[in-house]
Subunit: 441 residues, 2 copies
């Protein structure tokens, strides 16, 4: 029986969950016949508190005292890297500091495998990290970085290998989905729903990255790499959040048999890949429309399989820990072979404005005769086929009309041209910028 | 560049799809750096027809002429087994004959890996086949045997390894789901819906194994082995089909916010595992209730992940072929390490009558005063809590009352005792045997 020894750097929510799983099944998780996983060491800045919080023996933690100094942290990290008996290091510190990147590269440089849940770091530096793994013949596991417990990464790298994946659409941020679900179900405003999410612990005190689409964008960026071989950077594709969504929008969506979800979306066309993160209307009948609360879901369309949908928990201590442990087991089984080389297909990212989808456009116009005609005529002049036109959503005695159309597939560019044409011909037609929301089909 | 050479035995729907995928991406499916998959040989009894049907070059097929004799088939099989350059054999012949089992064992005996879509054979003989793989240090891939393109097997064996799977619930037969969906949506009778499924090609001329739960039972039997290590045989757990479901039943289900689905279900309790295949009520809100048509879905609950749901296509040529190719890629990458050893945990299968679930019970009673009271009193006497009581579903001028209750969690044994007690006290109360249907929660 060979022990496969694991060290964990950072014992917060995810690191603690990982440690608990490894300890709860010390005798159970056999990586392969003859291999046994062993949690050898945990490093955390506050070892006493982490030990108490997760019910883990204090002697597993490196260093003495309640709080380790910067020097002590560095020395203990060095000690782990220099320990030849440690096979794999789990990074659950988080953040994108240069210092942490250096540590992750040093793990691989020391001939150890690396498992990380750090989506922000991988979004920024996956190229350097994967290159270091290749140079040192080691593997990097990052199942936990995309949708927590859902096996999206292995689903793509190890399972859907008989397929050619043509599109990815997913709900990859539980906080924003929880907020949108409550706006839809209870008719709440965004601010009310956010407050509720914070009260229940589904949103952080500073929820910026969840709400502005940034966190979901990191995940899509990682998927662009492993599915399509695209080396994208933050800013290379449009990322919108949910903060501009109103109760009127969710109400309108319901009127056309849909719900609004924050969708990570990438689709390969012949020439390249369209990618975006933004709120979309998802029609009833599409399984993503039923994914409520903090649950995540990823739909992968393939030329052969016609597609698979994976649904599960995108966050949580044991949930995300289970994904990390699955990476540890996988690497213990297969060693450096567990590391894929990602195709560098040279496929370009395309301008999302050129992507054909059906759209909903929500107009806030002066409530004067003829305005509907002016707008729909401009839409028609751009060769856009209108699917539905909704009535005024605003109360009768309130000035202005809030109404919406849905279109047959067309491009965002066409819609923008139609809107611009109305602005030129009738400068005061719009009381607010029309809201253009793709419909996921 | 090493070629990893594959032979296919049986070029019907699934074998043909597998061959087409392997050929369509000859240069694309790299198993790992330095390995290239090669489709070396196809053996089919009717090579001319198979070649024409799937658009595959005739020279890939073994043997001469339109139909191979039994002797020629045997000789060509032997030639493939004796060809040292062939690394892996795909079995897509189907059936459970002794001759086919002998061929599958001989593939492993010849030192070749085996990939099969044959759920009936694995249900009957997985023990012998897996033992032969271990003896010969070779791998058996069977992703295609359970739910076609959905990565259920690798999802369990390679992805959810940081978890302890406690229950499996799934829609694993597309034909019966297609029929039930149409009964629910269109209010059709079973016979009408079956006819429609046959007309559209979703049901075979002889749909017995799809409709009586046999096919779904094979899949659950395989999952009992790989999830819980249980060596079950057909008949070891109750398997019911959908042929007794009526339009009244689907209508009643809708009344309580549910749909009827054929569910494969296994749940671990402390002492063992409850397993069954049978129609169940699935409440709205459970994602399985939204799985319509021929789509399959498997929900795996885990102690750490809280569970994942996988949704996709359970049948079809390229769909199932994609699962077979994913096994070929996996085995080309990892070789004999790709073969798991399944835990022989010694966990017993428990009598399903002892499994606590909520139930729906549909009664067909004499339409006389007091009968509801007699039945519900007997239910109460067994300490069963009633959740809802529905009104008579039968038209007013029709004799007899068709009505139903739903219960809080109780056992099938309790309900059966209550029914027996009514039969003893009021022999003519029931016009038909009450239908007891579990409610999936």
């Amino acid at each position: 029986m060979k022990n496969f020894k694991v060290a964990i750097l950072g014992c917060g929510t995810v690191g603690g969950g990982t440690a608990k799983i490894l300890r709860s099944r010390e005798a159970g998780y056999f990586a392969a016949p003859g291999i046994k996983l062993e949690l050898a060491r945990i490093l955390d800045k506050f070892p006493d508190a982490a030990s108490a919080r997760h019910g883990l023996p204090r002697e597993l933690f490196a260093g003495a005292g309640a709080e380790l100094s910067a020097e002590a942290l560095e020395a203990e990290t060095r000690a782990i890297l220099d320990d030849p008996s440690i096979d794999l290091v789990v990074e659950t510190i988080g953040g994108t500091s240069e210092g942490l990147l250096a540590t992750m590269l040093a793990v691989l440089g020391a001939g150890k495998h690396l498992v990380t849940a750090n989506k922000a770091m991988l979004a920024a530096h996956n190229g350097r990290i994967f290159a270091a793994a290749a140079e040192n013949s080691r593997a990097v596991g990052f199942e936990a970085a995309v949708c927590g417990a859902i096996p999206v990464i292995k689903g793509i790298n190890e399972c859907m290998t008989g397929d050619e994946i043509t599109s990815v659409s997913g709900i990859m941020n539980g906080t924003s989905n929880y907020i949108l679900s409550n706006m839809t179900r209870k008719g709440l405003s965004f601010a009310e729903a956010l407050k509720g999410a914070q009260a229940k612990g589904y949103a952080e005190a500073d929820p910026t990255l969840d709400i502005n689409g940034g966190d979901a964008g990191h995940k899509l960026l990682i998927l662009l790499k492993i599915v399509f071989g695209i080396e994208a950077k933050v800013g290379d594709f449009p990322v919108l959040g949910i903060d501009a969504i109103t109760a009127d929008d969710t109400g309108f969506a319901r009127e056309v048999g849909a719900v609004i979800k924050l969708i990570c979306h990438a689709r390969r066309e012949n020439e390249g890949v369209y990618a975006t993160v933004r709120p979309m209307l998802v029609r009833e009948g599409n399984v993503l429309s039923d994914i409520d609360g903090a649950t995540n879901a990823v739909s992968l369309t393939g030329a052969n399989s016609r597609g698979n949908v994976f649904i599960g928990q995108g966050a949580g201590s044991l949930e995300t820990g289970s994904a990390i442990v699955s990476d540890i087991v996988f690497i213990a089984r297969y060693g450096r072979d567990a590391m894929r080389e990602y195709p560098a297909g040279g496929i370009p990212l395309l301008d999302f404005d050129g992507h054909e989808m059906p759209y909903a456009v929500i107009f806030d116009t002066e409530d004067v005769p003829g305005v509907t005609g002016i707008v729909t005529t401009a839409i028609g002049a751009e060769a856009i086929n209108i699917d539905t036109v909704s009535h005024n959503l605003r109360a009768e005695d309130t000035p202005g009309a809030l109404w919406a159309i849905t279109t047959k597939p067309c491009t965002m560019a066409q819609i923008k041209r139609a809107v611009d044409s109305v602005k030129r011909s009738t400068p005061r037609a719009f009381l607010a910028e029309p809201k253009i929301i793709p419909i996921l089909h």
